[in-house]
């Protein structure tokens, strides 16, 4: 009886402090309070800058001064800008050449690492090591490897009396050089594939073997579908990385040495590199914002295409259409 009386009193008091707040609403408010730091971050550090960059893309803005609304003229200028066109070509080259090549090579690495061989762990470590190298340090290392005069590759080719290409000093070889360097760093994707390969159902593989499937058929019809979600993941990450390619190109293309074109004849002028130059060398933040939005839309379209087509080639275990 006493307990009942006390609880009534407490209930009455809380009703006085928070009238008409139901338990559900209370929980919702507590929930909001807990996620408040994230909401503040989302609004202040993501959505607000995103909205402002969209607004700035329609203005003439230079960080310190006031901005003028210029309508769509930044976007119109983009399509007439030869350096922007070249930077988009260079970037899409990476998407078309570097992403599939990296996927194939990293999958090949994973298949090799999945074999029960002696020293497998050592190989895994070696393949993953490039991921541990800081980006700029890696770029400087490859700058030496690609040197046509005394670089590692051309020195080795020289032993066989082959005159190696000019690599980064050639307009036609500079982008393949970047692709080659990125293949070196595919250990991360290979580890993800390896995890997927370890999860492939052995009973399915054995069943296929009993049915007379050879090694290629087992790979093509059992292993590959089983790891297809990981291929999708790595493809999306690869596209994102290629579309935002910056540091290595900037360092290896000589962008950090002042007013030089990045890569010989702008051949390493990727979209993000050009965006940086426009924003921080020309101080044209409005124009740079327009580049960022075009880049964002292109990424959106590419990822959209991959996701839409993925329903045809990605298979999820236990998932039915």
């Amino acid at each position: 009886m006493t307990v009942k009386l006390e609880s009534t009193t407490v209930s009455n008091q809380s009703e006085r402090v928070l009238p008409r707040v139901t338990l559900k609403q209370k929980r919702f408010l507590w929930g909001l309070l807990f996620v408040a730091p994230w909401i503040v971050g989302l609004l202040g550090l993501l959505l607000y800058p995103l909205a402002m960059s969209l607004y700035y893309s329609f203005t003439n803005y230079n960080i310190v001064g006031s901005y003028q609304f210029v309508g769509i003229s930044n976007y119109q200028e983009l399509f007439l800008d030869p350096v922007f066109r070249q930077s988009m070509y260079n970037t899409l080259y990476l998407v078309v050449v570097m992403v599939p090549t990296s996927l194939v090579v990293s999958l090949a690495y994973a298949l090799l690492m999945n074999q029960p061989l002696f020293g497998q762990r050592v190989f895994r470590t070696i393949l993953y090591l490039p991921q541990m190298v800081p980006t700029v340090a890696g770029a400087l290392l490859w700058l030496w490897i690609f040197n046509p005069e005394f670089g590692l590759i051309n020195t080795i080719l020289g032993w066989f009396h082959i005159v190696g290409p000019l690599w980064l000093s050639s307009m036609s070889w500079s982008k393949p050089s970047i692709v080659l360097m990125e293949i070196w760093g595919t250990g991360g994707a290979a580890i993800i594939f390896l995890a997927g390969l370890r999860g492939v159902s052995q009973s399915l593989v054995e069943a296929a073997q009993i049915d007379g499937a050879n090694i290629w058929h087992r790979f093509r019809h059992v292993t590959l579908p089983a790891i297809s979600p990981l291929i999708l993941f790595n493809a999306i990450m690869g596209i994102l990385g290629a579309m935002q390619y910056f540091t290595q190109a900037f360092v290896m293309g000589g962008g950090s040495t002042g007013s030089n074109s990045v890569g010989i004849g702008n051949s390493l002028e990727f979209a993000m590199v050009y965006l940086y130059q426009v924003a921080f060398q020309s101080l044209r933040m409005g124009y740079a914002s327009a580049i960022a939005w075009v880049l964002f839309l292109v990424i959106l379209i590419l990822i959209g295409i991959v996701l839409v087509t993925s329903s045809r080639w990605v298979h999820y275990e236990g998932w039915r259409r």
């Binding site: 003439n60 230079n62 960080i63 310190v64 001064g65 006031s66 200028e77 007439l80 800008d81 030869p82 350096v83 040197n147 046509p148 005069e149 005394f150 005159v163 000019l166 690599w167 980064l168 000093s169 050639s170 307009m171 000589g254 040495t257 002042g258 007013s259 030089n260 074109s261 010989i264 004849g265 702008n266 002028e269 130059q277 426009v278 921080f280 060398q281 020309s282 101080l283 044209r284």
Partner: protein
Amino acid sequence: MRKMIWLLTGCVSSAVLLVPSVSEAGTTGNPEQLTLAINWTGGPANAVQTLLNDYNAKHPQVHWNLVTNVTEQKLLAEEAAGNAPSAAMLNTTDLVAAMATAGAIEPLAPYIKRSKLDMNQFTHASLYSNSLLGHQYALPFFEDTYALYYNKTMFAKAGIKTPPKTLNELMADAKKLTITGKDGQYTQLGFMPVLDKEAEAYLWGGRWATPSGQVTATNPAAEKGVQWLVDVWKQFNPNKVERFISSTTGAINSVDPFALGKVAMEESGEWFMPTILQQSPRVNFGVVPIPYPDGHPEYANLGSVGGNPLVILKGAKDPQAAWNLIDWLATTGEVIGTQQPKLFNEIYAVPALKSLVNSPKFASTPEMAFFWKYSEGKNIVPFPPVPDASAYVTALDGAVQKAELGTMTVNQALQQVQNQYAPLIAQEIKQAKVSKFQ
């Protein structure tokens, strides 16, 4: 009573808030704390610190603190955040006009007028590179000027008695001094066909823009200069030249073919000398004017110049104090920096004061004396101080490379840059005229 409490609280709060600002203003005996931001680090930054110490000792009402390794991008970010240092030394003159157009730096005319600073004491090129449409936005500190380095030993070995004076002589010497190895590649190059800051335009008196800021990438004189450089590449085979020079991306690289005695002639700045002496102290080199076109001695002693502009940033805490400092650094500071060997060996550049460039006795070596004097010549031209100069020079660099490698003709390459930058820069100049000079 309640009103009294509010009044008292207000007075106390105001007093508390005012105390630091009075103290900062230096009226209570403590010097005003101000900041000078520079991009330099290491030895050159130490030299600036020594100069600042000197200034602080002579001006007890202010204390300038030095912040090093501050890029222009960082400066702008600080400025946008309302936390700009009062004064700064930029790393390139290419950004002065862009920062002026953006309103990031203060125009100096009112300060120059008030302090009656004699602007005639500075070399013409240094003043021009720090201006926008004739309005001064920065004071020159130390400059970089470019001339032709040549290897005396290699010249003697090839039987060439004097360095080239004209472009034809340069080409003849370059051919004599170029050696091809058994594999068909160059083992020695007579002339490194690269001119800094797109100076090839100046060979026939061309300019990349008019003094009023009009872009002239396709002017016939500039095109002729670029064509000459492209022809040099063609004569020596672009692929072979590129292979040879790809062992270095610039004279400041750790391995320079001129310092190694693999290149007989190379255009570079005065700052290149320590690199040569450090990498190969035995290289016997000389410095001469960049050769001029045959039959056109009026273009003799040509070259480019760049420097380290001293600016007052918009939103500076004490712009007048900032002016006092940059005025001192550009004049007294430069004299001290030049005449004290310890400081000069760190800065190692060309002064912008006419009195110094004409005083070879203060130069550390005869070669340095040559650079000093050379910087004052009428054909020494900075990249034009136009808005977007930095992007314009980058675009020219890419376009000229394409012409050198044969993927475009010179005219196509320059026309592309003209089409892109002429309207853009014209628009920015128009806006600058409306917002700043009317």
